[in-house]
Amino acid sequence: MALLLLLVLPVLGAAVLGVVGAARRAPEINAAFSLATFLAACVLTAGVIRHGSLLLGAEQFFIDPFNVFLVALTAFVGLTTALFSRPYMRVELEHGRLTAGRLRLYHSMYQLFMFTMLLALTTNNMGLMWVAMEGATLSTVLLVTLYRTPGSLEAGWKYFILCGVGIAQALFGTILLYVAAGKVLGAQGMTALLWTHLDAVKGQLEPTVLALAFVFLLIGYGTKVGLVPLHSWLPDAHAEGPTPISAVLSGLLLNVALYAVVRSKVLVEGSLHSELPSMMLMGFGLLSVVLASLLLWRQRDIKRLFAYSSIEHMGIATFAFGMGGPIANFAALLHMTVHSLTKSSIFFTAGHAAQKAGTQLMERIRGLITLSPTVGWGLMLGSLAILGVPPFGVFTSEFLILTTAMRTQPWAAPILLAALAVAFAGIFSKVQPMVFGETSGRRLAHPPALLPVFAHLALVLLLGLYIPPYLADWYRAAAHLIGGP
């Protein structure tokens, strides 16, 4: 029931907002639907905590601790982003960057995007997961180009073509999986793409075909995770689209794509009994961390800066999943959570800062702390949190990942540490003058919504200081499901 509501509410929201999305109260309606979705997610989560994994809807939907935690996170950030976008989009409308019609498109597509992500997370069918992932791309393409500037059109086109090609590879990978499964589960079986069934027989699946399938799946979904060298759409799409979309792309979509990669990895590892999937994840992860932390230095646009930081953090999580084992998986899941919360709060403040300064160029954003202490402090604290300064949660997860790396993959630990240091210096040296220094901004007609920012940062702080036992159990259960050496 909760699942049904979870999936129906965003679709209903998209339909309603497709009609009234330009009305004066539309931002509130958007937030109300997001709130309802979040409540449904809470009920579902409570159910899974109490009764364990669920298999629903003729086995087409499967909820276990691994995906229910992402469902809760997705619905939560979806809600806070909707709250943030209320004043933000009103200001954009008044600055003449949008028309009423585009605002309607924005609200409707926002809900549709939430739906595709929730579907991708909850479905048990690898094929449906593919359909939902492609749907997530399609529902956001027109949001990236919402401002119709040359830059945004370029970003949208790149996003569409690169993710489209990537996702076509993933479809091929899914088909290979189906072929291999058909051998064991009976061809023509409707069950041959269901993850639970695949998981049950993964030891008998033909290893060479599965290895091939994994390469295609990793390239396909990896494009959406933003793994280097498939990342080039990501900074453009984040920088050129409206800020609430940057926040959900970075905070949620990347997580969902990584979820798809990890689900595939579990199957392939069970069939292959070799290091190949782990090595590939670690390699791609490390490459992303290193390259992104170097490219950070060359950025002049505030949203591009943090987009590269997202690539870096997704690289860290991918690397940790590659190492596998209970502690690394635990750390990777925690990292996904705290990164998602921190990064979206950073995008919220960066969006307000850019609105105040009238530009996204960092050299022209100055002295936020005198203009608006809350925005200034929000950006500073968010940046410190994402850079892994204790006591924030990112520190905990990075610390766990680094110590595990030292123990099991000693060659990688120094590289990782050096890249983190480079990223630290890069981001800190750019954020510091934006927050302090002479001011250059203006006042805005609508007061910024800073509740989401500080709510996220408080949660990240909490996760750094103390992880409640039930949450730790939950992460542990999910980490166990992912397995690994």
Partner: protein, 222 residues
């Protein structure tokens, strides 16, 4: 040497035709012809699906053939032609690589694709498994086309042709995908083309051209 049954010969000819069409698309500069070639590719795919459906008696393959026919032979080419007329784009510019060069690269790709398809062919138990290599070739050739072309419209046809290749692969390796998935994929393709239509007009409104070199400004910011 034993004589292959008739349906097998027909299916193999369909596969060969698909490969030929891929090469034809690779060398074609006229956008209108490109879209026509895409429609023919869809028709061959539908014919192969129909043949397979008749042979195996799989109900969902009939449906899949009808879906292909409606979407890829009728609707999408019609939509693309309409876009071409409205936007007045008839020719692609010189691609990054000249035609003979592209063809040579294409040949290498086909050899590579057959090598790649080896383990799948060994595993699959379908009568059509020998065509998997061709399906992989179609996918990779479409990929090549997307890389070498400059105009947005040619890239889109490349993308759609890649999707045809993937579907043909699914068909020859395992007699298609479960119906839910196939419907979902068709829906995604349909929506993708509609979104693209909107997108084209946005690009056009902004740049008065669909040449993609206008869309390379963001690189310079780095």
């Amino acid at each position: 040497m034993t004589q292959l049954p008739l349906y097998q010969q027909l299916l193999d000819s369909c596969a060969a035709l698909l490969l030929l069409l891929s090469f034809a698309m690779l060398s074609q500069r006229r956008v209108v012809t490109l879209v026509n070639l895409y429609a023919v590719q869809g028709a061959v795919l539908a014919a192969a699906t129909l043949l397979l459906a008749w042979r195996t008696g799989e109900g969902h393959l009939y449906l899949s053939a009808v879906l292909t026919l409606a979407l890829k032979v009728a609707f999408l080419p019609w939509l693309l032609h309409r876009l071409i007329r409205r936007l007045e784009i008839y020719w692609d510019t010189e691609s990054q690589l000249n035609v003979s060069g592209t063809m040579l690269v294409g040949l290498v790709i086909v050899v590579f694709a057959f090598a790649l398809a080896q383990p799948i062919t060994r595993l699959a138990s379908t009568a059509t498994r020998s065509a998997v290599g061709i399906a992989v070739s179609v996918v990779l050739l479409a990929f090549l086309m997307m890389i070498t072309r400059r105009k947005a419209m040619s890239q889109v046809v490349g993308f759609l042709s890649m999707e045809n290749g993937v579907l043909f692969g699914a068909m020859s390796a395992s007699y298609g995908m479960p119906m839910v998935v196939e419907l979902g994929v068709a829906l995604d393709v349909l929506v993708a083309v509609l979104v693209l239509g909107v997108f084209f007009f946005q690009i056009r409104e902004r740049f008065e051209s669909l040449d993609l070199h206008h869309l390379e400004a963001l690189k310079e910011h780095e």
